[in-house]
Amino acid sequence: MPDNGGIDRLRDSGLDAHDAQQIYRHMLLARAISEKSWLLTRQGRVLFSMPCDGQEAADVASAYALDAAIDFIVPYARSLGAMLVKGMTSQEVMLNMFGKAADPNSGGRQMPMHWGHKKLGIISMGSSVGTTIPRASGIALATKLRGENAVTMVYFGEGSASEGDFHEGLAFAGVHRLPVVFLCNNNGWATSVPVELQSAETQIAKRAQGYGFPGVTVDGLDPLPVYQAVRTAVDRARSGDGPTLVETNTIRMMPHSSSDDHLRYRTQEDLDAERQLDPLPRFRDFLVSAGLLDEESDQTLREAVDQEVEDAISYGDAAPSPDPATARNGVYAP
């Protein structure tokens, strides 16, 4: 029997059954791409990857609160779920993973998972984390100066919140009440350094008070509170009331990147315990209990997602590499 409490929870979060199924599908897709990309790096077919395993709920549900047609996302390398919600296709992701000429993110110029897709309103990121935060304030400033309605959301980890640019970007947005949402994925680890060594106050959202706007912390392993908090922040931004800092507490189930070995600084027991918190089975169980998913439809969905990613890998692998004759092109805009 469906648990009507589940439906009530969904509705209270501002979502309907279709939304929930869309969020679940995007979470599954992000996980499948992340897992398969990891395997591709182990096979030597892809040279670098930054897994997002553990933060699919936070990334997908937060991006789902945006208006994909007009809003901007300023991502970081673990924002795969948000990229998919914003409209990046599995094929485009795989063109990026294989560093191919047709990769819309950088045409093979940046390492994999360094997102940026102008047609989709995804602002380019480099590898120097935190620089994106004042950039997001600038995107939002331009929007505000022109009297437009778009909201900008910038994603970053709690490690990036230690950068000076975090402070400078939030301070500016607060002064000018800019339509921007600062979304901090606090997974507790900046590569090998735990959050306790970033700051004596590990709850990042508290810092918002210092900039004169709200900060909220939510369970980043459950899409519903993430969506609800970000939706509130987006509405607030769009209505001219200024920025919000949303902190999603997440987990990092995999190493920092394909070049990292997390057993150098984490124990297997810790990792095993964290895996029990995996947001995917948790949301699946919720959908089943709410009567929005059953064993069969889940299996069908997983197979479809799996096939989509396999097809995308074949497509990305087979696509032409950039022409070496173009390596010096495009240093300056004409």
């Binding site: 102008k118 620089t131 600038g138 400033l141 400078e168 495009g330 240093v331 300056y332 805009a333």
Partner: protein, 327 residues
């Protein structure tokens, strides 16, 4: 047509571009009510309002980062860094982000951004209000670096910089603001970025410079002329990209070259110009390429006796020019 100070030419360029393009806005410390600490932006807040002339928090990286974002979202921001000496907190934003955005996005995103900063010594500004920082940025692919020497160029180059789709660093010598005057025509014009100009024709040696040092070269050329040595003075105007054709043409004619800048010697723009001459004008040279620059001291010290001991000026150029001519 009227004679004006360099500072007035910079202000006119800003005012005209603000009026002509609603995408242009200014951001910097103290540029609003206070009109900038040098008064470059005086009156612009009153004329264009606080959404076009934005007093920034005291945060150079943040203001450049904000400007990059705005530039990527359709605006043409002009940042004022209060003194070039204070640009270093923004170095990462300039070098890691603005400079390579176009390349790293395979031409999808450009960053039409201008960063203006007063530079240079001779004003008793001590170690942190006297530096020339152009060499740090001249090294960086993706940036353009402009250092005007006179009001006409300052106005025309700044307009060109604001209309350019690339990030442009624009360094204004603070001693030149009020001391260098020149004719500036009424109405709109631009001076192309990347084109040097011969300020004074000469036969015996080439003095190659930019910014305020061009005036020191012209003074030295006058002195040398009385000694029968004819100096050509080349004003680079842009130090990245360099106008190699113009500087090589001059050196091929004279056979002797001296590069002059106020920035310190090692790794300066002069080193790059010297390398270009050595490669492409080697067979025309009658003497080793020389450089006149500040010595490798952190910056100009405060006490007048100390600063004057280090500032390169006309006398230093004359001394080197005599050596070159006699070689």
């Amino acid at each position: 047509m009227g004679e004006m100070r360099l500072i007035d030419a910079v202000r006119d360029a800003l005012r005209e571009e603000l009026a002509a393009d609603s995408g242009v806005f200014l951001i910097g410390q103290d540029i609003g009510v206070n009109g900038g600490v040098f008064r470059v932006t005086e009156g612009l807040l009153e004329e264009f309002g606080p959404s076009r002339v934005i007093d920034s928090p005291l945060a150079e990286s943040g203001m450049v980062g904000v400007a990059i974002g705005a530039a990527m979202n359709g605006m043409r921001p002009v940042v004022e860094i209060q003194f070039a000496d204070f640009i270093f907190p923004a170095f990462n934003q300039v070098v890691s982000e603005a400079a390579r955005m176009y390349y790293r996005t395979n031409g999808e995103y450009s960053v039409p951004l201008v960063i203006r900063a007063p530079c240079g010594g001779g004003v008793r500004g001590g170690l942190y209000h006297s530096q020339s920082v152009e060499a740090y940025f001249a090294h960086v692919p993706g940036l353009k670096v402009v250092v005007p020497s006179n009001p006409y160029d300052a106005k025309g180059l700044l307009k060109a910089a604001i209309r350019d789709d690339n990030p442009v660093l624009f360094f204004e010598h603070k001693l030149a603001y009020n001391t260098v005057r020149g004719e500036v025509p009424d109405g709109d014009y631009t001076v192309p970025i990347g084109e040097a100009v011969v300020r004074r024709e000469g036969q015996h040696l080439s003095l190659i410079s930019y910014g305020l040092s061009v005036h020191h070269c012209l003074e030295a050329a006058e002195t040398m002329s009385a000694e029968g040595i004819s100096c050509e003075v080349v004003d680079l105007r842009t130090v990245r990209p360099l106008d190699t054709a113009t500087l090589l043409e001059s050196v091929k004619k004279t056979g002797r070259a001296c590069i002059v800048h106020e920035d310190n010697l090692t790794g300066g723009v002069g080193a790059e110009v010297a390398a270009i001459i050595a490669k492409d004008a080697f067979e025309y040279l009658d003497a080793p390429v020389q450089r006149v620059a500040a010595p490798d001291v952190p910056s100009f010290p405060y006490s007048p006796t100390l600063e004057d001991a280090l500032l390169p000026g006309p006398a230093d150029i004359v001394r080197t020019a005599r050596e070159l001519a006699a070689y």
